[in-house]
Each structure stands twice: as structure tokens, then as C-alpha cells.
């Protein structure tokens, strides 16, 4: 479903991605970890066609050199800060994709579909007519997740889904992501700093370090690892180690 080969991306003299290569198969959930500023978000933006890579190849759902509008039917995205549209009520945020494009639904049908997705992520029907500013951070994440799955895309992408949430809400969002990915048999790519997300969501883990995938394995292997000093420092949040703390 997703194939990336030798991806390079620089901003001026700063080399962010330096030969990233990986594949994610159908129904597989890959979690990408890495320190702040290591290029995880840039990698996601390149995958989604929101940033153009300097070199390398990307293939998603059979589309090479993807552009965002080509991917919309294939990929659902949950943004770090949810990125809900402030000017639209919750249900219109969820149904946004369903109400646009050549195969758009009517308002009533789209609202019904949005309510169904909101229920799937645990949101009450009364929340449908609220505006995003009236929701807590956890609720905004749920709505963002409902929007991502609204078109039932085969690929889901999550950008730091638990950022800014307390441990309980983070666990709820992780559990929802895992359930949704399994139910939809979706291919998922998640980037995170959160070890709990890694444990709850990952089939496979990759660590982005110095612009490339430095280590790959299962979540259990990542969490148990003590041999690899870079991975171990990151997993256990140690100050001492090869990863510089001033970045």
C-alpha cells in the first residue's frame, strides 16, 4: 500500500530526510518514532504530497508522486492539533469530504453519515452542532479521527495523535485508533513520541534518526531493546546518550 524509496528532503542547508526507505503492507500499522525536529512531520507531509521531496520515490495506493487531491479518496489524516475547521460545526467537519467532489452526498445523508462516525469515536449526537472551539482537546481529537475515517479510506495517517492529552485521554485515543485500524483493515502510519501509542498501536516500529530509518522492529523489541544506544536512550527518555539534547 505504501512504498517509499530513498527519500531526501532539505530546507536550505538543513538536511531533514536523508534516504528514507520503507514499505507498509495492507492492514499493517507502522509507528514512526524519533526525537523532536528529526523530520517525522516532514516525512508525513511528503507522503501526503503536502511537501515535495527533493529526490526519491513515493507510491501510495498505486499512485506515484502523489498529490493531495489524488490521495483524498485513499488516505484519511488526523492532524496533530486536529486541524478542525473553526467556521464549521462538528458534523460538517466530519462530513466535509462527503459533501464535496463529483460523488458528493446531500446534506441529510452526509449528516447521518457524520453522526454514525461520531458515534463510532464515542461522541454523542448532541455534539454534532457544536463548533470546534466548544470542544475539549480530547473531543477535538475524536472529531478529527471521525473526519479521517469518514470516507472509509484504506490508509490512515496519524500525526502525534496523543499530543497535548492527559494519559487517560491518550489511552482512549490510542485504543480508538487501534480499533478503527483493525476494523477497517486499514494500513496505518502513525508518528509519535508517546511510548504508549507505540505499545498500543504498532505492528511495526521504525525510528527516524539522522534523516533515515535507523532501526525497525516490533513494538515489543523496541521497548525491550537495551543493545542499541540510540533507540534505548529515546525509548527510556534518558538524558545521557548519543542523541544530543540541544536540538
Amino acid at each position: 500500500m505504501i512504498r517509499v524509496h530513498d527519500l531526501h528532503k532539505s530546507f536550505g542547508a538543513k538536511r531533514v530526510l536523508n534516504g528514507v526507505s520503507f514499505e507498509v503492507g495492507r492492514g499493517e500499522s507502522l509507528v514512526v518514532i524519533g526525537g523532536s525536529g528529526t523530520g517525522k512531520s516532514v516525512l508525513l507531509k511528503c507522503l501526503l504530497g503536502l511537501e515535495s521531496a527533493d529526490s526519491g520515490t513515493i507510491e501510495i495506493a498505486g499512485i506515484t508522486r502523489p498529490r493531495p487531491h489524488e490521495l483524498a479518496a485513499h488516505v484519511g489524516m488526523l492532524f496533530q492539533a486536529s486541524a478542525l475547521f473553526d467556521s464549521l460545526p462538528v458534523w460538517q467537519n466530519v462530513a466535509f469530504r462527503l459533501m464535496s467532489g463529483p460523488a458528493r452526498m446531500g446534506r441529510e445523508k452526509a449528516r447521518a453519515a457524520a453522526l454514525e462516525k461520531l458515534a463510532r469515536v464515542g461522541m454523542a449526537p448532541e455534539s454534532a452542532d457544536l463548533y470546534p472551539a466548544e470542544l475539549s482537546g480530547g473531543m477535538q481529537k475524536r472529531v478529527g479521527l471521525a473526519r479521517a475515517i469518514a470516507g472509509e479510506p484504506p490508509i490512515l495517517v496519524f500525526d502525534e495523535p496523543t499530543a497535548g492529552l492527559d494519559p487517560i485521554l491518550a489511552a482512549v485515543i490510542n485504543a480508538l485508533i487501534r480499533e478503527v485500524v483493525t476494523e477497517m483493515d486499514a494500513t496505518a502510519v502513525t508518528i509519535t513520541h508517546d511510548m504508549r501509542t507505540l505499545r498500543d498501536v504498532a505492528d511495526r516500529v521504525a525510528m527516524l534518526h539522522e534523516g533515515r530509518f535507523y532501526w525497525q522492529g516490533t513494538a515489543a523489541e523496541a521497548l525491550a531493546n537495551e543493545d542499541n544506544p540510540v533507540l534505548a536512550q529515546f525509548i527510556h527518555g534518558r538524558i545521557e546518550g548519543p542523541i544530543p539534547t540541544l536540538r
Binding site: L48, L50, F79, Q80, L84, F85, R97, G101
Partner: protein
């Protein structure tokens, strides 16, 4: 010699950067115009923007016109009294309002209210990844955000100018009758006998051009906003300043085109 070369280099870089910025702005305008004629069109967004830009700007444009019309009548009376030409107050007040002050002051007030609002809204959407979210939902921000705002401002401004003209004339009438001792019927007859179709039409055309410029500045600086609160603040400020300067310069050019002998 080295210092002179360094200074020359700095000036050259500034000039090149200025031309570069101008080129990007013009390219954005051309891209925005090209999107206006290609589907999909977002009718609901357009209607919403007509309300936001047009209807909600009426109070500020109306109040500006009311006081400007009154002050204009007082000034023209003071000036014309030196030549015993007080009878010209109604006609000159009306011509001054519809040709110049109505569109220009209306444009500046709308620039302050609308260019800032558009730049801040779109800038915040950019910073909070809402623009990226739009793109991942197969929606082009140039069509969904920029197009409706430009069309709405271009359509709404002539209406605002027309309303402002009427209120400005009413302000002049009110001061003329209640303060300067004009007879009401005579004031109105002098106003409309001397006012020509082209006086009004030129002001409305100016309004459409100013509306386009206001929305274009707001959208351009919003879409190119820097990160964080400071980036959005800078985009907002620059949008208002450039929109105001463009309105004043476009006003001069249009006046030359419409009225040069």
C-alpha cells in the same frame, strides 16, 4: 571603496527582493483570477462572505460617510463663502462624495476591517494546519478560501460605496439645512441637478477595484503568513498597510483614466 560596494550590494539586494515580492503578489493575483472561472464553485462560502464583507461592513462605512458628508459641507461652505458661491455647496458636496470620498474612505475602512480579518483568519488556518487539512480533503484553498472572498469583496464594495454615497449626501444635507440655513428642497435640487451618471458610476467602479485589492491583500498575506502569533500579526498588519496604499494609488490612476481632460 569596499564600503561603497557593500552599500551598493545591499541596495541591489533590497531592490531585487522588492521586485521578487511584487512578482509573487502579481502571480498570486493571476492564479486567484484563474481559479475564479474554473469549477468547483463554493456558493455557500460566497454567500457567507457576502454577509461578512458586505452586510457587516455597512455600519462602519455608513458612519464614516455620514460624518464625512457633514464635514465636507462645512468645509465647502467656508471656502465658497469667500467667493459668494455658497449655492455650490450641495453639488460639490455630492460630487466630492460620489467621485472620491465615498469610494476612497469606504475602501480604507473596509481595508481596515476586512483585509485584517481575512489575513488573520487564513493565517491562523495556515498555522493550525487547517489549510493542509483542506488539501488532504481534496479541496483547493485557492478555490474554497480565496475565490469566494475576492468575488464577495468585489461585488460588495460597489454596493457599500453606493450606500455610503447616499448617507454622505444625507450628512451634507443635514448639516446644510440644520446648520448652514439651506432650504431642504433647494439643497436636494442642487444636489441632483448637477450630479451626472458618470460621477456615480466611476465611484462604483472604483469601489469594485478597491474591494478586489482588499480581499487580494488579505488572502495573499494570510496564505503566506509566518509561524505563530507573531507571523499572523505581521501578515495582518502588512495586509492592511498594502491594501491602503494600493487603494490610494489605484484611486489616483483611476481618476486620471476617468476624468483627465
Amino acid at each position: 571603496m569596499t564600503a561603497a560596494l557593500a552599500l551598493l550590494g545591499a541596495v541591489g539586494r533590497s531592490v531585487a527582493a522588492g521586485f521578487g515580492a511584487m512578482g509573487r503578489f502579481v502571480a498570486f493575483a493571476a492564479l486567484a483570477l484563474s481559479h475564479l472561472v474554473r469549477p468547483p464553485f463554493y456558493g455557500r462560502e460566497l454567500a457567507l462572505q457576502l454577509v461578512q464583507i458586505g452586510w457587516l461592513s455597512l455600519p462602519v462605512v455608513g458612519l464614516t460617510a455620514l460624518f464625512t458628508g457633514g464635514a465636507l459641507a462645512l468645509q465647502i461652505y467656508a471656502g465658497s463663502a469667500r467667493f459668494s458661491a455658497e449655492f455650490a455647496v450641495p453639488s460639490i458636496t455630492a460630487i466630492g462624495m460620489v467621485r472620491e470620498l465615498g469610494p476612497v474612505l469606504g475602501g480604507l475602512m473596509v481595508a481596515a476591517r476586512v483585509a485584517s480579518s481575512i489575513a488573520a483568519e487564513i493565517g491562523t488556518m495556515k498555522v493550525s494546519e487547517q489549510i493542509d487539512a483542506l488539501r488532504t480533503l481534496a479541496t483547493d484553498p485557492m478555490k474554497y478560501l480565496v475565490g469566494p472572498r475576492i468575488v464577495a469583496a468585489t461585488l460588495a464594495m460597489p454596493v457599500l460605496v453606493a450606500v455610503g454615497d447616499a448617507i454622505g449626501i444625507l450628512g451634507g444635507y443635514s448639516v446644510g439645512v440644520n446648520r448652514l440655513g439651506f432650504d431642504g428642497t433647494t439643497y436636494l435640487r442642487n444636489t441632483f441637478d448637477f450630479l451626472e451618471f458618470w460621477d456615480v458610476a466611476s465611484g462604483l467602479i472604483k469601489g469594485a477595484v478597491f474591494g478586489f485589492l482588499v480581499a487580494l491583500c488579505g488572502c495573499y498575506f494570510g496564505m503566506h503568513s509566518g509561524r505563530g502569533a507573531q507571523g499572523v500579526g505581521e501578515a495582518t498588519k502588512t495586509a492592511v498597510v498594502l491594501a491602503s496604499i494600493l487603494i490610494l494609488s489605484a484611486n489616483y490612476i483611476l481618476t486620471e483614466v476617468f476624468f483627465s481632460a
